[in-house]
Subunit: 135 residues, 4 copies
Amino acid sequence: MTLINELNDFCKSTLVEHLGIEFTEAGEDFLKARMPVDNRTKQPMGILHGGASLALAETVGSAASIAIVDNQKYNVVGMQMTANHVGQATHGWVNATATLVHKGTRTHVWDILILNEEGKKISVCRLTNMIIEKT
Amino acid sequence: MTLINELNDFCKSTLVEHLGIEFTEAGEDFLKARMPVDNRTKQPMGILHGGASLALAETVGSAASIAIVDNQKYNVVGMQMTANHVGQATHGWVNATATLVHKGTRTHVWDILILNEEGKKISVCRLTNMIIEKT
Amino acid sequence: MTLINELNDFCKSTLVEHLGIEFTEAGEDFLKARMPVDNRTKQPMGILHGGASLALAETVGSAASIAIVDNQKYNVVGMQMTANHVGQATHGWVNATATLVHKGTRTHVWDILILNEEGKKISVCRLTNMIIEKT
Amino acid sequence: MTLINELNDFCKSTLVEHLGIEFTEAGEDFLKARMPVDNRTKQPMGILHGGASLALAETVGSAASIAIVDNQKYNVVGMQMTANHVGQATHGWVNATATLVHKGTRTHVWDILILNEEGKKISVCRLTNMIIEKT
């Protein structure tokens, strides 16, 4: 089974599935996911809720670290998120790409860029994960 | 109808309702909401997903600004979120309180503290909203 | 020698002294310092440079962790800073207070509030320090 | 006079000059500056103070917005900074590059990457500036 299938399976019956988030593509130092813009993820004005963008960013940034550590030895814990909302999505899907900024022994830092279907920037996010040795 | 009822009504058929978030209490410079810790909001390890906390924080911090501006004249736009995840919730509800840090003419800054049912800190968040005159 | 004197001595011939920063008061879970608003810390428009506020915040937030860990055993490393600039200082001193938000085994989170002499908020900052065992 | 010379002149007798910061290169959507790693910018352990990195980031990110707005009509105000410190500099110079992430009518968002002389990442920063019409 591919990493993408594993991640989608792993997230069944969680927030990830509940928001319709699907992992779509993985590489050496990036991971992609998409999320529908509909009643599950919108705010009352009919546009994508900033909090849905944040949930997508935390999801893809956490999974990206899980995908590159030895999961027998280490736990990944999302520790710090920062995000700027710079555009609006109203329909279709938004696409998130997590790109590795820093890979330390104790922390990973990921940039997560969320674009709408037209390629316009919706949110630019940065997630810091702690990498903690299992005891 | 009270502000709390209005806010809960306003958010029907959105991310807010989809995650089970309920506004619970409002004051001069604070707003409270709660969110269930269950399959809608958990990550695969059975604990509250950091992204759910962020969605809750953005929800209560945005609504808090909406509650204190003249909505005929101004739009509230969530612009910048920053958050530290410092604890874990596994069951019941988490409670979020947004407290006003800065009320400017162009921006509001809110601290949002998320606690679990035992009163332990789960996430400490800060949201910056732009207050934009309607044209 | 008191902790305050030790910290001020420790920071001689560094950025801290160069900016005129002085530690002023310490308690169980807080630390205070002040910084002059003058040509050393202003930007061209004659007001306190936001970067000076950040330097003050990182200084007091780092020292605050140093003050509460066993320095024989642990190093303190500033890892993540986030700050909102919400007011302007033009003269005299600004006062910074670091207050402990989270004290974990691997990280400390501090809120640093910077006020001008009239007690107006200048910057609200949050610093995450890693606490790393010496090897 | 070139933009770089103008910026360096503009910052005389301010924090910028006091820390030895020099603007070095400007382009359509980027601006570069460098800062010496010495007693003016170090912390007590002999490495670059995280607060100096933040001061450099705020300096270059603010100047970058000033360089692209009509200064007769608009003021640039640094509003929100977020930064991850991911490496250490001990000598020579650090180089900062501000790259435009978002150019809106009311806000600019800049990524500021700080590298040491060997090209290693020291800090990754993001600055949000408000662009305010002069009245």
